[in-house]
């Protein structure tokens, strides 16, 4: 499989969220806004790349019977690193993602790629695979987060759309925009949004 294909498969053909339906817990949990989805996706990407590369490096040294515990230790280390780094340098984001950062450890995409890809392929193609899958995951989460933010709070990346436009036309305006469709910010909205995006993705990828 060539590297370009290897990279792009994470976006459409094997998108972890829309096609494989893996890692749905953070997908449904954190996507209340586009920025949350993006941050979660990038954190997962970092862990995926790190664990894929390390596992591809040490795969020859690990006896078969202890490979899962070894993989989990590697993954957990990378998650703890991103957890510490985020709480140190982006505390606000860290707070809004909260519990879901440590939970990357049990995200099935990460262990899934380690077991299905990195433990059988070279370091470089594992790196590409991790990057592609991670960015595909980030893409899916940002899309879902963006959809929910637009419908639920009429904003995108915390930029209030109606108010922003009103302010562009008249900077001194005191217009406050109405509330969005509240259900999309609440938990059920994640299911609605995800379902519609999956349908859309199926249509496009046909």
């Amino acid at each position: 499989m060539n590297n370009l294909k290897n990279f792009t498969k994470g976006f459409f053909r094997e998108n972890p969220v829309f096609i494989l339906l893996l890692g749905l817990c953070p997908t449904l949990g954190v996507t209340t806004s586009a920025i949350n989805g993006l941050a979660m996706g990038l954190a997962t990407t970092f862990v995926l790349i790190g664990s894929n590369v390390v596992i591809a490096l040490i795969k020859g040294l690990i006896p078969d019977k202890v490979r899962i515990p070894s993989f989990i230790v590697v993954i957990a280390s990378f998650v703890t690193i991103i957890d510490l780094v985020m709480s140190a340098y982006v505390p606000a984001l860290y707070e809004s993602l909260g519990l879901f950062i440590p939970l990357i450890v049990v995200n099935c995409i990460v262990l899934g790629r380690a077991e299905a890809f990195a433990s059988k392929n070279t370091v470089f193609s594992s790196l590409i695979d991790g990057l592609g899958m991670g960015l595909g995951f980030a893409f899916a989460l940002t899309l879902l987060g963006g959809l929910r933010e637009i419908l639920g709070s009429i904003a995108i990346f915390n930029w209030k759309i109606f108010e922003g436009i009103a302010r562009l036309i008249n900077p001194a305006t005191d217009y406050t925009q109405p509330d969005g469709i509240l259900v999309f910010v609440l938990a059920p909205g994640a299911f609605f949004g995800l379902a519609y995006l999956i349908v859309l993705m199926k249509k496009i990828s046909k």
Binding site: I58, K59, G60, L61, I62, P63, D64, K65, V66, P69, S70, V73, V74, A76, S77, T80, I81, L84, V85, S87, A88, Y89, P91, G152, S153, D179, L182, V185, L186
Partner: protein, 230 residues
């Protein structure tokens, strides 16, 4: 590459080496991020206090912890040049629509509310979260309120015969907000009494600029929180 055989020695050694390397790497990262994490925490706290006691970022802050109903309530005494400019209290209520609501409230030297804001909550987005300054200006009405001159010295929403206008469709959140401020005020009045007694016997300790020190005081008091649940 041929896989290593899964003998007992091989497995033990591999796992040992992997965990040892992971431990070293994590220790290294922990040391690097320790200081920024502490700084971020301090900054967040100072910003939160500064909202309810303006000028707190320039002064010194003394922290006291009081345990009530199994939860911590923090008292931050803010002073500039040894003169107390206000007291911020990180209070809580268990009666929010989504459970715990934490409210930071600042009192001036006369016990009047300077300002207040929600620190953490699990209220409904679009309804109960209007109690937060970032969402609406509902909690502006608490500015300059003086609980000691209110009926029964309690803060209540107008539905319950008080003076606070509740958030539309979020009366429970509004009640919880009042409950948290009420709790803060009760503790504030108690500590004021305590401090005036203490001053006769001991000198107050001076805490250096920009350092945060914690001491814990357990106040034993009759459990009056029980009747708010009804």
């Amino acid at each position: 590459m041929a896989k290593k055989e899964s003998t007992f020695l091989n497995m033990t050694l591999t796992l040992f080496i992997i965990t040892a390397v992971a431990a070293v790497a994590l220790g290294y990262v922990y040391n690097i991020t320790k200081e920024p994490i502490q700084k971020a925490k301090d900054k967040k706290l100072k910003t939160a206090i500064n909202i309810v006691v303006p000028g707190a970022d320039k002064g010194t802050i003394e922290i006291e912890t009081v345990k009530i109903e199994g939860k911590d309530l923090f008292i931050y005494t803010v002073s500039i040049d040894d003169k107390i400019i206000g007291t911020a209290i990180n209070s809580f209520s268990n009666n929010g629509f989504g459970g715990l609501v934490r409210v930071m409230v600042g009192f001036d030297e006369n016990g009047k509310i300077i300002d207040s804001d929600v620190l953490e909550h699990k209220e409904t987005p679009g309804l109960g979260d209007k109690s937060s300054k970032s969402v609406s200006n509902w909690n502006e009405q608490f500015k300059k309120m003086d609980i000691s001159i209110m009926k029964d010295k309690t803060l209540k929403v107008s539905k319950d015969g008080g003076e606070v206008d509740a958030i539309t469709a979020a009366t429970i959140t509004s009640r919880a907000y009042c409950d948290a401020i009420q709790r803060a005020w009760t503790v504030y009045v108690e500590t004021i009494d305590d401090n005036s007694q203490q001053k006769e016997t001991t000198e107050t300790e001076i805490i250096e600029e920009n350092t945060l020190e914690t001491k814990t005081v357990d106040i034993v008091e009759p459990n009056e929180g029980g009747n708010d649940n009804e």
